[in-house]
Symmetry: D2
Subunit: 202 residues, 4 copies
């Protein structure tokens, strides 16, 4: 397995975000196969299509788009706000998808974790985000689904990493499945491209 | 019928937004029954839950929340971004829903228009927004659904109002249905409250 | 308050369905304001549009459509099957919605309960059903949302009614809210119709 | 490329179903790479979980499950009924997913076409089905999305195949993309399994 580069996008800006802690935990658990880092979204101006006509647009947009363009896959870790995707996360997605025809999300394998202290574990945000990723053409890991409910601060140690227990076990498994998904998509795409080149050369 | 106050929230910031023009057209068509005005969302900082602990938080938040609190009903006019609610609109909704327990959306009758130049008319954004409004406890007009497809600039006159034609006719009907829906919810709620007061007084 | 007639449609056919028990519990809790009965769906042939051209189509269709046509409102109590509406329930809805222009669901106020033994409480089925009810033009109660998780057989007594406890308390509140919602929609619609008749008579 | 076996499941029972015609057209267009056949669903009794306790349950269930179990991938061609998945299609999916732990859908690569005479092209059914396929663990082709609007009978020739024109061109491209998606998922999974066997043998 190669060591793929992953951008983690966290759907909450608050300092003690549990989704940020989940993100860091996954980065740690998959560190032997994935090179993951959180790409920040809190400084992105609200997307306005009029920016697309300007070159180059807000510098924060360029910074964000470059960071996503540079990776092999994307992991979203997000809370649910009002049964939907947090506006702050959707804004980042909108920024990355534009200008028209230059989306930085295209073809990147992805997975979604939604975590919350409540029982439902962000199901609504998770699936609204899946709908968005269809349009973005991001091959999406289906299983395991990760609606993480009951994620309270005591689930983490002082360093913000998941404590031993069923939640940690599940997240370790999720991290392994995600790295396999990224490997599957990227490697087979390469193989198919090589086949095509081979056929053309005959 | 009383003359209810309506906030229109437009899901696009661009200057020539067709959804803004649709919004203005509806405000005009319903002017004899509804007192509608667009409440702006382009200056709202990205929502961060840490603001909730601060008093009073960003002044733009207070301005927006006050504006929504003051109305009897809400109309959303929005494009679809990447098969979902534009981040900029969802951010405004998130801002209005907080701090916890102080949502300004609660109980306000609402309707949704999604307009786009394409064929599908923002179906994805429309229904993701409906899901959000369940949590926000906004009684939602069901019919007519307004997935306005093929909404190109030539559908509007120089003042930005809808030209004669089937689209205008549909939107006129939509505006009438919306004003009836607002009237129905507000008046019956008042009536039920009066009944309750009457019963209690006996 | 008048005593409105309610059809309860249960999304599971199995004998010991917990959603059927929840349905019966709600019927009992609201018995002073609503006259509720379960309308069966297990005998309905799979919907085929070719039936619409035949008169009168399958007799089970006529029986079901008559039963729904006769009520003032509808309560759906359903499990989630594979993150969606059970096929058996959707089939009944499709049957009731046809032939084109003769839907029996039109304008009937409605509410949805989704119950499951798992944590997520049928969120996916609940919201897919809400999307369907937009098209069916059924004014939908927004709050309280009822994603009933952890609904195991021991939550019910020998007669299949909810035992004392937080779940029962929640469902009692839900039943009260639903009867208010039905009353609100039906009474105000009547009032508005009377106003219109009054205006026309002048 | 190997010649993968594909089950096409059509979400409408009516004789002149346009989705059945689209299904046949795709089977024809991809015939050099995929061996596709329609698996019928019109005879499946409504799913009842009580059947799972019986061995072997309705013979139609066994027939359907065997047919899906035998294929490498699945294509859904479906209309939208009331903004959702037709009950008849969802019933087939529910049947195939059970008994618990023996789903026949598991891991099969899939794609969705939704066709309708209207403008919106079954967007609602398409995405509700995508949500279901997450749980079913079916790797789903993201692009091209196929919300086929304006699909009227005159789009087909006397044999029920798509006439020359933009719709046919789109569907030809869709068929090619689907066969690549199936190849990608199946071949890479095999490769990863071989790697694992190789590592284990060392």
């Amino acid at each position: 397995m190669s060591h793929h580069k992953i951008a983690i996008v966290v759907g909450s800006l608050r300092k003690d975000s549990i989704n940020r802690k989940i993100a860091r935990s996954i980065a740690t658990f998959a560190a032997d196969r994935l090179d993951s880092r959180i790409v920040e979204i809190g400084d992105l101006p609200l997307y306005n299509q009029d920016y697309d006509a300007e070159a180059p647009g807000p510098p924060e947009y360029a910074r964000f788009r470059d960071a996503i363009r540079a990776v092999d896959g994307v992991l979203f870790c997000t809370p649910e706000y009002n049964r939907g995707i947090p506006g702050v996360l959707k804004n980042a997605i909108d920024v990355g998808s534009r200008p028209y025809g230059a989306s930085v999300w295209d073809k990147k394998p992805a997975a979604i974790v939604s975590a919350s202290p409540g029982a439902i574990g962000g199901f609504g945000a998770n699936h609204q985000l899946r709908q968005v990723c269809v349009f973005l053409n991001m091959p999406m890991m289906q299983q395991p689904e990760a609606y993480l409910g009951g994620v309270t601060p005591d689930k983490f140690d002082a360093d913000g990493c998941l404590q031993e227990g069923p939640l940690r076990q599940f997240v370790v498994g999720f991290a392994a499945a995600f790295s396999e998904w990224v490997e599957l998509i990227i490697r087979s795409r390469k193989m198919i491209a090589e086949d095509a080149a081979h056929s053309a050369a005959k």
